[in-house]
């Protein structure tokens, strides 16, 4: 049986040749993403801005404009209505009512009654009410979690490798997270708690490729002590290229299926991780590696560690 080889055996792609162009492009895109996110804002769900979210499945397709009109007729503030999943499922978002919990309760019940009265056979799938206080906490917790995770991982990489690698990991993560945010700002996809979970996952998984490539760079730095840094990076990237392609493809297959036919509620989560894996694969080559060139990593960066390791392991 002939086995599939997506990447030929002896590749010799000069990745580093385009490194300046790629880094400039990535920097521009990152800055653009952040600026766009700041300027246009994210489509934050009730988890982060408070308010109510009611999901309804109707018995048959409905006239959205009419539904919107009816909901607005309740005078509950600026309601937004979006299709959600199937053609007969909709989510109705209401702003935080000024009167606290009692008012929120009433508002949800009013919508439920309206739906029951006008659309027989429909069913209310879920009602979520989040107060302003809780949503502020969820937002700040989410932000903290992402920052702590990024720092934690960068510190770990620093301890396991060298400080240059830690900085590289941190920049790679910042790049991946801001690009994903930019994507959410651009598409207006709703950002809820699941998307924060996705961002944290990206922080963990987009670094997968970086860790593998760094590991190979370290190995080669020790093996070929006389080689210049650029050819060495190219060699390392080429040696790990097959693995990068195969792994990214498997993860993308699994997530692609989830995105295409999985439950609607976690579509945001799935697409964010899918995208994160794509961006992560790119950035492990064009952010993680070039950073090492500027930070002047040399074979000597590891000499001390080597000696320590040898002394420590010799008796065994």
């Amino acid at each position: 049986m002939k086995l599939l080889k997506l990447v030929p055996d002896h590749t010799n792609v000069d990745f580093m040749r385009w490194r300046n162009l790629a880094v400039i492009l990535s920097t521009l895109l990152t800055v653009a993403s952040l600026a766009f996110t700041a300027y246009r804002g994210l489509n934050l769900g009730v988890d982060f801005i408070g308010g109510q979210l009611i999901r309804v499945t109707f018995a048959q397709s409905v006239d959205v404009e009419q539904l919107r009109g009816r909901v607005l007729g309740l005078h509950l503030g600026e309601a937004s209505i979006q299709e959600f999943g199937g053609p007969t499922s909709y989510q109705i978002r209401l702003p935080k009512p000024p009167g606290g919990d009692a008012a929120a309760n009433q508002a949800a019940n009013q919508v439920k009654q309206l739906v029951a009265a006008n659309y027989p056979g429909s069913r209310v799938d879920s009602v979520e009410t989040v107060s302003g206080k809780v949503s502020e906490e969820l937002a700040s917790d989410g932000l903290k979690a992402i920052i702590f995770a990024m720092l934690g991982i960068a510190v770990y990489i620093w301890i396991r490798f060298e400080w240059q690698f830690g900085v590289g990991a941190l920049l790679t993560l910042a790049h991946d997270v801001s690009m994903t945010l930019g994507f959410f700002a651009f598409t207006r996809l709703q950002v809820d708690l699941n998307v924060v979970a996705a961002l944290l996952t990206i922080v963990g998984y987009s670094l997968n490729d970086t860790v593998v490539i760094y590991d190979r760079i370290r190995e080669n730095l020790r093996k070929y002590r006389k080689m210049a840094i650029l050819p060495l990076l190219n060699l390392s990237l080429n040696e790990t290229l097959a693995r990068t392609v195969v792994t990214s493809l498997t993860v993308l297959i699994a997530l692609g299926v989830l995105m295409a036919i999985g439950p609607e509620v976690i579509f945001g989560l799935a697409i964010a991780i899918f995208l994160g894996v794509l961006i992560g694969t790119y950035s492990s080559i064009y952010i993680s590696a070039p950073v090492l060139v500027w930070l002047k990593v040399t074979p000597d960066s590891f000499v001390k560690v080597d000696e320590k390791e040898e002394r420590g392991t010799q008796p065994a």
Binding site: R123, T129, F148, N194, T201, V211, I261
Partner: protein, 546 residues
């Protein structure tokens, strides 16, 4: 590489078998096979999160100001009761203004004695010498009790733990439902009730503090002054929103938007603390819904004595500082049983009975977050999630097989074992599977393969470099492990942070990722290595097709 002693092989297979065994109850739940699973066997199942099973999630926050107010009022009652006992010390002008209890001792020579007796009402706080209340004497005759900070913190902690138990009893009087009631942080309680997708009744039950008091109506108060909110000394003005017309002691509203008011004696005849049982019933004459209550012996005794002394006078039944009704004492009530009348429906009378039987909440609770999910949405999600998992896994398996041949088969076996181990461990720990958890499962499947990809690509590389088969396999596993280890540590870091900061569903995602990291290192590295070693030992291949 080939040294795989027999006991290690058996241990690995044992772990695999236990994993499969533990995951069976979760896999067959809800199918006809569940009945055929022997009774003596393991029945630990993976819990389904609310987003999959349907149900209500409520986050309650204690109203701290209300808690402090209640605490001061409690202290006021305790002070009055204590100093009234023999030898009695006469006091006056007692007030709870500014969050402190303050009163005047009528006989200046007894101030020290009063302070001494009040000490028995306060508690020492740890070893610091502080107490939960500061007792001070001002202007030689006025005694003031000020709550200390440490005392407040302790009181809040105690109140939260009582509140948690009360909430549980109210939602689940029989103690048989699978509900979650836990305190979060210093002043919150999380309630999760599977299967209930309309939380209105839950909120009604939790919303009542259910502080029930019986007090005598102050008949000497002037209704005109009561309407202004002024009561004679020793009495207080309370709202009586549903007052029946024509009662002489009630100050009826003179304008729309106002409520009727009534003056009652401050002294509590009996309180809800002395109730042992409460149930909904019907009034024998009017057939209106009522709540029937039974006092404990101390309460029954006190209620009997007070009603005996006050025949033909009205008393007020007060719930959470609002008068429910003010019936007349027609005769002494000696049996320790009484009924609460009010403007009830069967439902509200029943809710009140449950609330009274479960005790009063030491603090008012407000709902600050609420999520309810219908059962159909959850079923739909499970269905789609399972199909996506199966197809996604099949896709990954196919890709592995065409890419790595025999080694792809090993990776596939490892993948399937991994799935069982994740489910088995989740069942063992009683972990909760949430919707994002399903995504975590699929992601883990995709990422677990990465370890095999790393190993297999490395073996390919070593063979290209001209190493001999055995050497190449061994180097492949050894060199790849470093990167596998580091990559997994980064996953653990992000998943741990997610578990720490995340709520409900997100935490479920993190748990699956964490378990998946552990099991996938075992299956993808150790387990496949064993399979490869056994194969090489058995068939001594000359060359490797990878």
């Amino acid at each position: 590489m080939l040294e795989f002693p027999r006991w290690k092989v058996w241990t690995v297979w044992l772990v695999v078998l236990v994993g499969v065994y533990l995951s069976i109850p979760s896999l067959i739940a809800g199918t006809p096979f569940a009945d055929r699973w022997p009774a003596w066997a393991d029945h630990q199942k993976i819990n389904l999160g609310l987003d999959l099973a349907g149900g209500s999630h409520l986050l309650l926050e204690a109203d701290q100001r209300d808690a402090q107010k209640q605490r001061v009022q409690g202290m006021e009652d305790a002070v009055a009761t204590e100093l009234r006992r023999d030898p009695r010390i006469d006091i006056g002008d007692i007030s709870t203004a500014e969050g402190r209890v303050s009163f005047m001792v009528r006989d200046p020579t007894k101030v020290d004695a009063a302070v001494e007796r009040l000490r028995t009402l306060t508690q020492p706080m740890g070893l610091t010498g502080n107490r939960d209340w500061d007792v001070q004497v001002v202007d030689s005759t006025r005694v003031v009790l000020i709550p200390t900070n440490t005392g407040q913190v302790r009181a809040m902690k105690d109140a939260m733990s009582v509140a948690r138990d009360v909430v549980r009893r109210r939602i689940d009087p029989s103690g048989t439902r699978e509900i979650t009631v836990v305190t979060e942080g210093s002043n919150r309680i999380l309630v999760e009730v599977p299967g209930v997708d309309n939380p209105d009744q839950l909120k009604r039950l939790i919303g009542q503090t259910a502080r029930l008091e019986f007090k005598l109506v102050d008949l000497e108060a002037n209704p005109a002054e009561v309407a202004q909110g002024h009561a004679p000394p020793g009495s207080e003005v309370l709202d009586y929103p549903e007052a029946q017309p024509g009662l002489p002691f009630v100050a009826y509203p003179s304008a729309a938007g106002q409520v009727a008011k009534v003056a009652v004696k401050r002294r509590v005849m009996v309180s809800g603390d002395q109730i042992t049982r409460a149930k909904q019933g019907f009034d024998q004459q009017s057939n209106a819904p009522i709540v029937q209550i039974t006092f404990n012996s101390a309460g029954a005794h006190r209620f009997g004595r007070v009603t005996q002394d006050n025949v033909n006078k009205p008393f007020a039944i007060i719930l959470d500082n609002r008068v429910l009704s003010a019936p007349n004492i027609n005769e002494p009530i000696l049996g320790g049983q009484a009924q609460i009348t009010g403007n009830f429906t069967v439902q509200t009378a029943n809710d009140l009975a449950v609330s009274l039987a479960s005790g009063k909440l030491p603090v008012k609770l407000n709902v600050i977050e609420e999520r309810s999910i219908g059962p159909d949405l959850g079923k739909d999600s499970i269905h789609k999630g399972v199909i996506a998992s199966v197809i996604g896994t099949l896709g990954v398996i196919l890709f592995m097989l065409v890419t790595y041949g025999r080694f792809g088969v090993y990776a596939t076996i490892a993948l399937i074992v991994n799935g069982f181990l994740i489910l088995g461990l989740m069942a063992l720990f009683g972990a909760t599977l949430t919707l994002p958890g399903i995504a975590g499962f699929i992601l883990t499947i995709g990422a677990a393969v990465d370890a095999n990809v790393l190993i297999n690509e490395r073996i390919r590389e070593e063979i290209r470099r001209g190493r001999r088969l055995l050497d190449a396999v061994e180097t492949g596993y050894r060199e790849a492990f470093r990167a596998i280890f580091d990559a997994n540590v980064t996953h653990v870091i992000s998943a741990t942070i997610m578990a720490y900061f995340g709520s409900g569903p997100v935490r479920g995602f993190a748990v699956v990722l964490l378990i998946g990291v552990v099991t996938s290192v075992f299956t993808a590295v150790y387990f496949t290595r064993m399979l490869v070693a056994l194969w090489i030992r058995r068939s001594r291949p000359r060359e490797l097709h990878i």
